[in-house]
């Protein structure tokens, strides 16, 4: 019998979902992300060399047995530096994203639930903040506070907070319009209860997706912040700083610059794949 061969892409778009919660792409993404998270945790312990030691007299040394990923502009072991740097890149991006979500998210939900002037004020405030160039904020912050991990985290968190606010507020407003929130409000529940019990559990899917995307952008932002001089203190370096400090080697195709760039790219692509393949109900309709 004729079965479904006449469906155009528009009529029946999605491929049948298998039992697996994730598609192949999602699994690949999850594997990459898991790999880097493990590296972030155990990186310094499995690094073959001291990440700060000058071991190679040759600069931008090529790959060889002693230096599997070559040596950097001072003759340090690139593999060890990437392994140690994973912790900074992933850790800082995670904490910063988390902070941004904590601040932007709670204020966003507060605005949505409170409505009226509170919503108005917060929305305008964050609208204004979002229009200040992020590089400028970063410059001011490092100039004022110097470059350290807390400053790095604060900068990234600060840059992301208005965006998080917008998305969370949008999502919370959708939920806030639903009847069960009205019921709770009619019951006399406090704003804190409404946020905690009624709104938050019902936007957790999309905001998790948003968290993933934002984490990805945080990793990329960190690598561009290293350009304006924001990074962890030497001798350690986050991946962005590794790229930056070895960029001279790019002309010679030095692994010292290519490898950290690949690390950033794989982590980013991994997170993206994972996020894109999360179950549909988790996806946020609002784009970053």
């Amino acid at each position: 019998m004729s079965v479904d061969h006449n469906n155009t892409a528009i009529e029946a778009p999605a491929q049948p979902r298998r039992r697996l919660p994730l598609s192949l792409g999602g699994m690949v993404g999850a594997t990459i992300v898991a790999f880097w998270v493990v590296v972030a945790i155990i990186g310094p312990y499995i690094a073959p060399h001291d990440a700060g030691a000058l071991l190679d007299d040759d600069l931008f040394g090529h790959m060889r047995w002693k230096f599997p990923l070559g040596s950097d502009y001072l003759g340090r072991d690139v593999l060890s530096r990437i392994l140690v740097g994973a912790r900074y890149s992933i850790g800082v991006a995670t904490v910063a994203t988390f902070l941004a979500v904590l601040m932007g998210g709670s204020l966003g939900m507060l605005a949505a639930v409170s409505r009226g002037p509170v919503d108005m004020t917060l929305s305008r405030l964050f609208d204004a903040l979002i229009s200040i160039p992020s590089k400028m904020s970063a410059l001011v912050l490092i100039a004022a506070l110097g470059s350290s991990i807390p400053v790095l985290i604060a900068t990234v968190a600060g840059i992301f907070t208005p965006g998080v606010f917008r998305i969370w507020r949008g999502l919370a407003i959708n939920v806030n319009a639903l009847d069960f929130v009205e019921v709770a409000r009619a019951r006399g529940e406090s704003t804190a209860y409404l946020i905690r019990e009624e709104i938050l559990p019902n936007i957790s899917g999309p905001v998790l997706t948003d968290f993933g995307l934002r984490f990805m952008f945080a990793v990329l932002l960190l690598s561009s912040l290293s350009f304006v001089g924001l990074g962890v203190q030497p001798p350690d370096a986050d991946w962005g700083s590794l790229v930056r400090e070895n960029i001279d080697g790019l002309a010679d195709g030095a692994p010292a610059v290519i490898m950290p760039a690949i690390a950033i790219a794989t982590l980013t692509v991994g997170v993206n794949l994972l996020v894109d393949n999360l179950p549909r109900r988790w996806s946020s309709t609002v784009e970053h």
Binding site: R124, M136, S223, F227, V269
Partner: protein, 317 residues
């Protein structure tokens, strides 16, 4: 419709002015909090206390902060953004040498990026979940994943140093022919496009897919419309709002955030002017840059909203 539009416009402008005021206060406080001032910045390593003191007095930096802010604001309201503290040149002149460059870069990038990302986004939406869709999204995703610095440097090494197709520097004064524009802007535009195409394409794809799920698309299918017609005639017009928004955000990013590209290609744009101004604590110049950036952002977002409104009769009336 007109009364509504006027009211909307008036309230938009009022909000914009308030926002700019707020931002200028925030920027002022931010720069005030920074250690050091323009006098120290000018002398740098050569600073001696009396030289710094002398310059400070000359620049009226010994006045209280709020007074300096009000003075600046007062001058601005008369249309004069003041002079740079560092070199005493009129801010308007400094900005006038940079802003057109940034606008030019942004326009060329947009001209290249938007059609390309629209084509990619729409076609991915049409063949959603196909091999093509997956390939396109993986490719754009990979491009956006490589740090801008690496892409820019690679582009220079390959196309400027090795192949000598394009200059490594992207600036030339004076009027340009189309060919010159192509030559000068090829590499920076290529670099910026790597990021932008992915972003705009992603939004386009999502917005079009969203529209494809709607009832009117089903109705169109049941009228016998072919996929191409459905997408172009029914889905795309309704996806213009979110797409315009994504484009607006990207353009504002281009105006103020293209610092890396401006540095690598030695492009005299607003981004580096701002970085420079922050480094030298040149308050009026910082303010001017940030306000331009802010106003551009607000303007672009408003433009995107208007585009969304024009494409959507519900909002138009």
């Amino acid at each position: 419709m007109n009364a509504l539009l006027v009211r909307l416009l008036v309230s938009r402008i009022a909000i914009a002015i308030l926002t700019l005021l707020f931002v200028s206060v925030a920027v002022f406080l931010g720069t005030e909090m920074l250690p050091g001032d323009v006098a120290q910045a000018v002398y740098g390593q050569n600073a001696t206390p009396d030289a710094v003191e002398g310059l400070r007095r000359a620049l009226h930096l010994d006045q209280p902060a709020y007074l300096r802010y009000l003075l600046w604001l007062g001058r601005l309201l008369t249309g004069d953004p003041g002079n740079s503290l560092v070199n005493n040149l009129p801010i308007a002149e400094l900005v006038a040498t940079r802003l057109p460059n940034s606008l030019m870069l942004a326009s060329v990038t947009i001209v290249v990026c938007v059609p390309m990302s629209l084509i990619l986004g729409i076609s991915s939406a049409i063949w959603q979940d196909s091999l093509y869709d997956r390939t396109v999204s993986l490719a754009t995703m990979s491009l956006v994943s490589v740090p801008e610095l690496v892409i820019a440097t690679l582009a220079v090494i390959m196309f400027a140093v090795n192949l000598r197709w394009f200059p490594a520097l992207s600036y030339s004064a004076g009027l340009l022919s189309l060919n010159q524009i192509f030559q000068l802007f090829a590499l920076p535009v290529f670099t910026l496009s790597c990021v932008l195409i992915a972003q705009i394409m992603r939004t386009t794809r999502a917005a079009v897919i969203d529209c494809l799920r709607s009832s009117y698309v089903e109705t169109a299918v049941l009228k016998g419309a072919r996929p191409m017609r459905i997408v172009l005639n029914h889905a795309v017009p309704n996806a213009i709002g979110p797409i315009a928004n994504a484009v607006a955000l990207s353009v504002s990013h281009l105006l103020g955030g293209a610092v890396i590209v401006e540095t690598i290609f030695n492009f005299p744009g607003l981004g580096r002017l701002l970085v420079d101004a922050v480094a030298t604590r040149d308050m009026p110049l910082i303010q001017a840059c940030v306000i331009i950036y802010c106003a551009a952002y607000l303007f672009l977002v408003a433009l995107a909203d208007i585009a969304g409104m024009l494409s959507n009769p519900r909002l138009r009336h």
